[in-house]
């Protein structure tokens, strides 16, 4: 078995960054954020928003992605973003 070294990040990834906030503008931590649609298959994993409500997802292809968010109290919100090389796409959830 080979012990693999820690690699560098691949610049070809497209980033989808965002924030989860409640209706008063306060950050919502521990919301699950995941893709529900995109131009090609994507990993079926979900990221949890950080203490400041932020999150970052990575995709491999340009295109329109549907991003969904579910907060710990059960609120669900969805948005579409266009990912492309260069600046990260922004997904802002107000739940």
């Amino acid at each position: 078995m080979v012990k693999t070294p820690v690699p560098h990040s691949d610049e070809s990834a497209r980033l989808i960054t965002g924030m989860v906030r409640d209706v008063t503008g306060n950050p919502v931590p521990d919301a699950s954020v995941y893709l529900t649609g995109g131009p090609e298959p994507y990993p079926d994993i979900a990221v949890l928003s950080a203490a400041d409500g932020s999150f970052t997802l990575s995709v491999r292809a340009d295109g329109v992605y549907t991003v969904q968010c579910r907060t710990p109290d059960g609120s669900v919100s969805e948005t579409s973003v266009t990912a492309h090389g260069g600046r990260p796409a922004q997904a802002l959830f107000r739940v």
Binding site: V2, V6, D10, A13, S32, Y34, P39, P41, I45, S58
Partner: protein, 310 residues
């Protein structure tokens, strides 16, 4: 890396020859200790209260014949071609919640809380394949090509919660920092090799039991019903959800199915019933346009998973 001089050579892709030439190769399941296991349904699906197999999925090939003509959607007549969209839940959501998660087989599935190298946190699913080993997706244990500084590589830790039901942890929680995957994923980031394992520091699998897993020829898989149970992020936190459908298609390295899933179910077992036992045939990994997909358990995958149970 020095190659073993005894490695067999062939002009066929290893997985093709492995499937075409071999008899089924599998490891048997264990139902663990305590509790009365839920017997499988008679049609290859699980008995889950409230679950009903869609009628179209139950039709035999002799009855259900899909049209073969390649016709555009009628919407294109007015609006032009649509942008293709891949979705993990297709049409109606057939998933049902499993609440008796403390008994076999449901306790085999574990909710995962993953802490990546950059301290970002993720949710996923894994399933026991031995006393101290759970199978999962490669991208659950090793993040590849994220584009985020400090995120790539082996994750820092994974909290494993077998049979979790919301806030209830009938088998507690154990944290692992011991992971496995293969170079096809960790070095190449090849989705065809997206599988791995979590090794825990206890023998909890002896209590929960585990699923078998195996490599079967295409014909066997294509007549099988696939089952998936896992921990999706679009449902109340830590709840387990199940769905089952006939296998849609296979290729030498992947299995495709129209079984509803959502983000957080990466790593779930895609399993079939064989003589009353539950056997993983793939590791769920990706959402797709009309079908989802998992890494097929072929002979090399079987051999690695088996080695990781030691």
């Amino acid at each position: 890396m020095t190659r073993d001089p005894h490695t067999a050579a062939s002009n066929q892709p290893e997985e093709l020859s492995a499937i075409a030439a071999e008899q089924p190769l599998f490891r048997s399941p264990s139902e663990g200790v305590a509790g009365t296991p839920v017997p499988p349904g008679s049609d290859g699906l699980e008995n889950v209260e409230g679950y009903r197999r869609p009628e179209y999925d139950a039709l035999s090939a002799a009855v259900w014949t899909a049209p073969t003509a390649q016709l555009p959607d009628i919407g294109e007549a007015s609006f032009g071609p649509a942008h293709p969209v891949a979705e993990t839940v297709h049409l109606l959501d057939d998933r049902v919640q499993v609440t008796n998660t403390a008994i076999y087989p449901w306790r085999v599935h574990a909710s995962l809380l993953i802490t990546a190298a950059d301290n970002s946190r993720w949710i996923g699913t894994a399933w026991f394949i031995g006393q101290h080993t759970l199978a999962t997706a490669g991208h659950v244990v090793y993040i590849k090509n994220s584009g985020v500084p400090g995120r790539d590589g082996w994750v820092k830790s994974i909290q494993v919660m077998p049979g979790r039901n919301g806030t209830a942890l009938p088998y507690g929680s154990v944290t692992s920092t011991n992971f496995r995957s293969v170079l096809g994923w960790t070095e190449s980031g090849d989705e065809n090799y997206d599988y791995g394992a979590v090794v825990i520091p206890t023998e909890l699998g002896s209590t929960t039991g585990w699923f078998g897993f195996g490599a079967w020829p295409d014909a066997d898989l294509l007549k099988s019903v696939g089952n998936i149970s896992g921990y999706p992020g679009d449902k109340p936190s830590g709840t387990q959800w199940y769905d089952g459908r006939g296998i849609s298609s296979v290729n030498p390295l992947k299995v495709y199915y129209d079984i509803d899933t959502a983000g957080g179910q990466s790593g779930s077992a895609v399993y079939r019933m064989v003589n009353g036992g539950r056997y993983g045939i793939a590791v769920h990994a990706y959402g797709g346009a009309t079908v989802n997909s998992g890494t097929r358990i072929t002979r090399p995958v079987h051999d690695n998973l088996l080695a990781w149970t030691a």
